[in-house]
């Protein structure tokens, strides 16, 4: 990792610390203050967007640990979110406190994730993707069949003490706290023994095994951790809209979580933030802009309805394609380049 000129590591602990320089502390504290004050001046629409963004980031963090760090690509991430959402919703609807239900949702999702990660002992890459693809369909089927997935589960508004988190403004604080904890946890995993084992398994599993790393164990651990994140994110989503339904966790969503990981940059925690903001923002823009363009045509035009419906897909597809063709290493890589050139500016050497 590149550091500003003059920053040296004088010990192992310093090399692993997240915040390195006084200026970074200033940035961090300013960002936290801004995040906590956001509901005071942002519109309700923007706060709703931010809540969804936060939930997306939490879920994508799990996928980043699983796929970006441990190299076990999952095409069923939304299904694991669904497990968390329905566990939380069903437990909460039967009278258990929301926060206990949320954690239980994460644990159940982790357990289900480990079950579908079992083939990772024998297969990898493409085959494992198929196992998680099977997870997407089988989990949807089970939840629709036995856990009221088709009609959905209603849950009451989330309460902290006497304070009801009814609106996006209130719920934002819950999401923000969970997000900070989860980000810290994810970042910490990546700088400990477990994280280094994940990276070793990703880069060369045979060499990792030869070094004495229990690869199967770490793969299953990655599934557990990644799906725990997904479960918590799913539970938070159900708590936010007071409803859990299988429609929100389709195969399409699973694939887009994978896209977030790639767009952000495989194997970077910052990449999750960039990727989530990029994809979520793109989705939001596509859904806001398309009706406007659709309305430009007279309603009698046969394409008017089609444009409104299809433009999100078009924008999505084309921007993603262009993005991959011109920026295949992800946004986090570009960010590092930007920071480096910013440090050297205007007297860079070249």
């Amino acid at each position: 990792m590149m550091q500003p000129c003059g920053v040296r590591n004088t010990g192992y602990a310093q090399q692993l610390s997240i915040v390195r320089t006084p200026l970074q502390w200033v940035y961090l504290i300013a960002a936290l203050i801004l995040a906590f004050c956001l509901p005071l001046f942002a519109s309700s629409y923007f706060m709703t967007f931010m809540v969804y963004l936060g939930i997306t980031i939490i879920s994508a963090l799990g996928l980043m640990l699983l796929s970006g760090y441990c190299g076990q690509f999952s095409m069923g991430h939304a299904a694991f979110m669904m497990v968390g959402a329905f566990t939380t919703a069903n437990l909460n609807a039967s009278g258990i406190n929301f926060f206990i239900a949320l954690i239980l949702g994460g644990i159940v999702a982790a357990a289900v994730g480990v079950v579908f990660g079992l083939p990772s002992g024998k297969v990898k890459d493409f085959y494992l993707i198929l196992s998680t693809l099977a997870a997407q369909f089988i989990i949807t089927y089970v939840i629709v069949g036995w856990f009221k997935g088709d009609v959905g589960v209603h849950i009451p508004a989330v309460k902290v003490g006497n304070w009801t988190l009814a609106h996006a403004e209130g719920y934002w604080y819950l999401v923000l706290v969970v997000l900070i904890l989860m980000t810290f946890f994810a970042k910490s995993i990546t700088r400990t023994k477990v994280g280094r084992a994940f990276i070793a398994v990703r880069d060369n599993d045979i060499a990792a095994e030869a070094m004495g790393i229990n690869t199967y164990g770490y793969k299953l651990l990655a599934f557990a951790v990644g799906c725990f994140y997904a479960g918590v994110a799913g539970g938070l989503w159900a708590g936010f809209i007071n409803f859990a339904t299988v429609d929100h966790y389709s195969l399409f969503d699973s694939i887009w979580y994978l896209a977030i990981v790639f767009v952000g940059g495989v194997g970077t925690i910052t990449g999750v933030f960039f990727g989530s903001i990029f994809i979520r923002g793109l989705k939001e823009i596509a859904y806001v802009v398309s009706p406007l363009i659709g309305n430009l045509l007279p309603p009698s035009n046969p394409f008017a309805e089609g444009i409104t419906l299809s433009l999100p897909y078009f924008l999505f597809g084309i921007i993603l394609a262009v993005f991959i063709i011109f920026e295949p290493r992800g946004l986090a890589h570009r960010w590092e380049l930007l920071k480096a050139s910013g440090r050297l500016w205007p007297w860079g050497y070249w």
């Binding site: 024998k122 085959y127 198929l130 099977a134 089927y141 069949g145 299809s310 597809g317 063709i325 295949p328």
Partner: protein, 298 residues
């Protein structure tokens, strides 16, 4: 006994014929995967596009059915060529992940075009074969199912012979084995990859024509194409012939679970049964029935 046997037939025949169609889609998928190493996420969309194109040629323009089918396959071949030129070639030298992701973008673009041109409502494609069929043991073998099974089987066997005996097919196999050695021996990798895309997308669209004319066309059906992937896996990805066995197995399981197990489980077990088979195969025989066991393992 007689009646039960007849009932068994009514479940088996659709299952087998659908299974063979899935095998065809799987073959296109395996072809692209083996020659290029790309997991083509747009396969389901390409398949559905075949159904829409047939609707366009046969219903909207009003051409005779056979002309519509030929034009659809030709159009699919052009789409395969364009995919390779516009999306895959610019990414040569990048990681496979980037290429897989670009097929995802492609899937999105195809869905968008379909909605834009044909709207989001369900369309009905004319049936390729006449109604009715051969009466056998109290039930009828419908021409549709027989026809699709037969056409798929002929195409599958034809393609397998092509890969086994023609010069071009053999160079395709060589590339899937080892790209660099094949190139060193004078095989044009660039051209073969192009042909792989054209063939792969064409077979997918043929599968799409058949599957959609059994029911109807709707862009949400693209997930059906994923069953083709399950089939490819059951047969073994290295084995082209395995897709037939895989298709038959998955088709049988689907047909039987639709017939006999539906009453005991909620929802439509038929759709999920293919994935249950796939999951079991992954757990207990990951190389599939006819694939090679890889010695390198962890």
């Amino acid at each position: 006994m007689e009646a039960q046997l007849a009932q068994l037939f009514t479940y088996l025949i659709p299952g087998i014929s659908k299974g063979l169609v899935y095998a065809l889609i799987a073959l296109g998928f395996v072809l692209i995967y083996k020659c290029t190493g790309i997991f083509n996420l747009a396969m389901g969309e390409m398949m559905i596009l075949g159904g829409y194109l047939l609707y366009f040629f046969a219903v909207q323009i009003g051409l005779p059915l056979w002309a519509g089918v030929i034009l659809t396959i030709a159009a699919a071949a052009v789409i395969g060529l364009a995919t390779n030129r516009l999306f895959i070639r610019p990414l040569i030298g990048q990681s496979t992940n980037a290429m897989v992701l670009v097929t995802l973008a492609l899937a999105s673009i195809v869905t968008a075009s379909v909605i834009l041109i044909w709207g989001s409502q369900t369309l009905y494609v004319p049936k390729l074969f006449p109604d009715g069929g051969i009466p056998i043991m109290g039930s009828t073998l419908q021409w549709n199912y027989l026809g699709f099974g037969g056409v798929s089987l002929v195409l599958l066997v034809g393609l397998l012979l092509f890969f086994r005996y023609s010069r071009f097919g053999l160079s395709m196999m060589a590339i899937s084995e080892d790209q660099q050695s094949a190139q060193a021996l004078g095989v044009s990798v660039k051209r073969i990859i192009e042909v792989a895309w054209v063939l792969g997308i064409s077979t997918a669209s043929i599968g799409g024509i058949m599957l959609t004319s059994l029911t109807s066309v709707q862009y949400g059906q693209a997930t059906l194409g994923l069953i083709g992937i399950a089939v490819a896996l059951v047969g073994g990805l290295q084995s082209m012939g395995g897709v037939i066995a895989g298709g038959l197995l998955v088709g049988l399981v689907q047909g039987l679970s639709a017939g006999y197990l539906e009453g005991f489980f909620p929802g439509s077990l038929q759709e999920v049964s293919a994935y249950v088979v796939m999951m079991l195969i992954l757990l207990f025989r990951p190389q599939g029935f006819f694939g090679w066991e890889r010695i390198e393992r962890v």
